[in-house]
Symmetry: C2
């Protein structure tokens, strides 16, 4: 029941990137649950990861290997098991499975980054994954994006991909293609559980890193489904450099063009995560303005976006805006004066500087929240900073999905 | 479907306190929705209120009147309408309705404290409430506690009351009786929406205040249903002084006895709020130890207690303890090392200093969470501070209740 989200039918290949899937029967047999993303030598790779202190074993291994400065040659992804809260054994498992990929490719084992998504607290089926790894490597092809997109799904109901081609200087065109998975445990710090974005733009290492931080900040870090931060969240940007033209650092005129395309792909993927949020029936934008800082605006926006009472009212198409006021008030922002706060649903003004708006009638608000996409607009009336987050409602199906996840 | 919660059949009267109810058809006709708690002259009254910046009109009026130092003679409570987010008009309404009670009693209108609970954002039916106020005052009787307990209910499925009698020095015995309402919008800062506790102990003004702060801190401020902080939360303590004996200040030997009884009544009421939490099927205690501070222990406990993923797993009787690890990790506590964290369900050890416990088997955890009351025990392994909070699970019915609240 994803909100206005359809399955991508075409994703541009990215020169220098090949993707292959295989079946390792990680959670159950009969699906391709192992993905290898093979990179040509020389690719720049940057990652941002969950800030959850219980971060998963593969996240710990990724951080270590990215920090070591070896050129990354492959990403190994499995669905069905998160390899989180598995202690030292989980780290050994992440190393052992990625070593099998390194062997099949013929590279240093530290040049393979492991990623896992699925149930927490269970050990990986290492033997089955090692056995399946060569098949995934052998199957790797530039056209593998659509299969890859499906291989990383867990409770996702719609596979998620986005793609762009843009012109840069010198008559070159570059491609940006990304895939993501994630529908629950979605929260501000690295919203999606896993996102892989690749471009053939010739970004420098620093530019790859800064483009990822900027694009993730404007996209994945602005969405929330349930306020729970995954143990496994990771967003990776690969820049293969095969697109031609000069090297692009952050001061190069093409940087803004490439960053724009990366941000568009990340935003489309981030929106897809919310549209496919567990049990979601509505796609809700929350805009907060008039704040003294962007952090304050985000704090208010998330307080509204995380409120179970707001989310259940939105599910019911009930313009119960008092709950929005409640959620603003409980945000913990210091010195907030309710007499300065304004609230609107799309263009319908509800509260104007703390007072009920004289023109407001219940049917006006109801007409807005009956739609499957709308914006909650909040003005704090105490500054010029603003922020925007995207979220979904909270339905019976959220409970159903999460109560029955393992059964 | 409250968890092991039954309707109180008897509450001790408190000399100096009379309670009367009447029908004002605030939300719908046919129920007693207006309560007056009349106090003999000389009663000490203390209150603690929501920290929500969008606090309701009656909360604003209460704070103003309690601050003025006039002896309080009555509390006026209505259910069905929260008089919150109603602007200046709502404050006028709170004053007008409490003035009607003052007139019926024959006291200063500032000696009446107003309280409201129910839907946010709608004006009170002032005329109907003013018309009903004299009947509530006329009906007031020392035996009115059970009727009062029912009059303040909103989505509560079980009325909530608790009562104690304890001996103090000089052959005296004192009574503590309290009632509460609240099942949703329940959060750490003033957990219940409304709680009224009275004693005939001869507490001084300062001792009344300090006893309330202490008792509320150990009870209402340790429970959470959904993490949403109400606009209307209020917990009031009345000490009529009719119980005999000397005046009791905080240094008096009887203070500990009286405080103990007040804390017991508040804790029983706070537990009742969780047991009747919207859609609750389980009563869950979360204990965190080994923290560097109580604040840190509470932060972890609330991170677990508020996690929708933990709460839906508990609803499903699924010992999906990985979600507990996730919620600990996302708490935002600085420098938390997962290698020092231990997790148990009752006496079943799951994680011991970051490693899966060798004796753990799925059926052991499942047997614990299949019960309707159990404890999640978390050790941080970095200090000696601890905290305990009480919460409930998150079920289909939570969504149902909150999606259909106004329909």
């Amino acid at each position: 029941m994803a909100v206005n989200l359809s399955t991508p039918e075409f994703l541009h290949p990215v020169p220098g990137v090949r993707l292959g899937v295989a079946e390792a029967a990680i959670k159950k047999p009969g699906r391709k649950d192992l993905l290898v993303i093979a990179l040509d030598p020389g690719a720049q790779v940057a990652g941002v990861f969950t800030r959850n202190a219980f971060c998963a074993a593969p996240v710990q291994v990724c951080r270590e290997r990215l920090g070591a400065g070896i050129g990354i040659r492959a990403l190994l992804v499995n669905s069905g098991n998160a390899n989180a809260a598995t202690g030292q054994g989980g780290i050994d498992d992440a190393r052992a499975t990625s070593a099998a990929v390194a062997k099949a490719i013929g590279c240093d084992e530290n040049a393979v980054l492991p990623f896992s998504t699925g149930v927490i607290g269970q050990r990986l089926p290492v033997d089955r994954m090692r056995a399946a790894a060569p098949a995934a490597v052998a199957a790797a092809t530039p056209d593998g994006w659509l299969d890859a997109m499906r291989a990383i799904m867990t409770t996702d109901t719609v596979p998620k991909g986005a793609t762009r081609r843009v012109a840069i200087s010198g008559g070159h065109a570059i491609t940006v293609t990304g895939i993501a998975k994630g529908v629950g445990m979605i929260c501000p710090d690295m919203a999606t559980m896993l996102a892989f974005v690749a471009t053939d733009a010739r970004l420098t290492a620093d530019a790859t890193r800064s483009a990822l931080v900027s694009a993730a900040g404007a996209s994945f870090n602005c969405v929330t489904v349930d306020g729970d931060t995954s143990t496994n969240d990771a967003c990776m940007l690969v820049a293969t450099g095969h697109g031609g033209g000069a090297a692009i650092d952050a001061s190069h005129p093409d940087y803004a063009v490439v960053l724009g395309a990366i941000t568009e792909v990340c935003t489309e993927l981030a929106h897809a995560v919310v549209r496919d949020g567990e049990g979601a029936t509505k796609f809700i934008t929350i805009e907060v303005g008039g704040a003294t800082s962007e952090a304050e605006a985000r704090q208010i926006a998330y307080s509204v976006a995380h409120s179970p009472l707001v989310k259940t009212a939105m599910f019911a198409s009930d313009a119960n805006w008092g709950r929005i006021a409640m959620a603003i008030g409980k945000s913990g922002v210091e010195g907030l004066d309710q007499g300065s706060v304004s609230i609107a649903l799309d263009a319908v003004q509800l509260i104007e500087r703390g007072q009920p708006h004289p023109s407001y009638r219940e049917e006006l608000g109801s007409a807005v929240v009956a739609k499957d996409e709308f914006t909650i607009r909040i003005g704090l009336g105490r500054g010029n900073a603003k922020a925007r987050v995207w979220t979904c409602d909270f339905s019976y199906d959220y409970v159903k999905i999460n109560a029955e996840y393992r059964t």
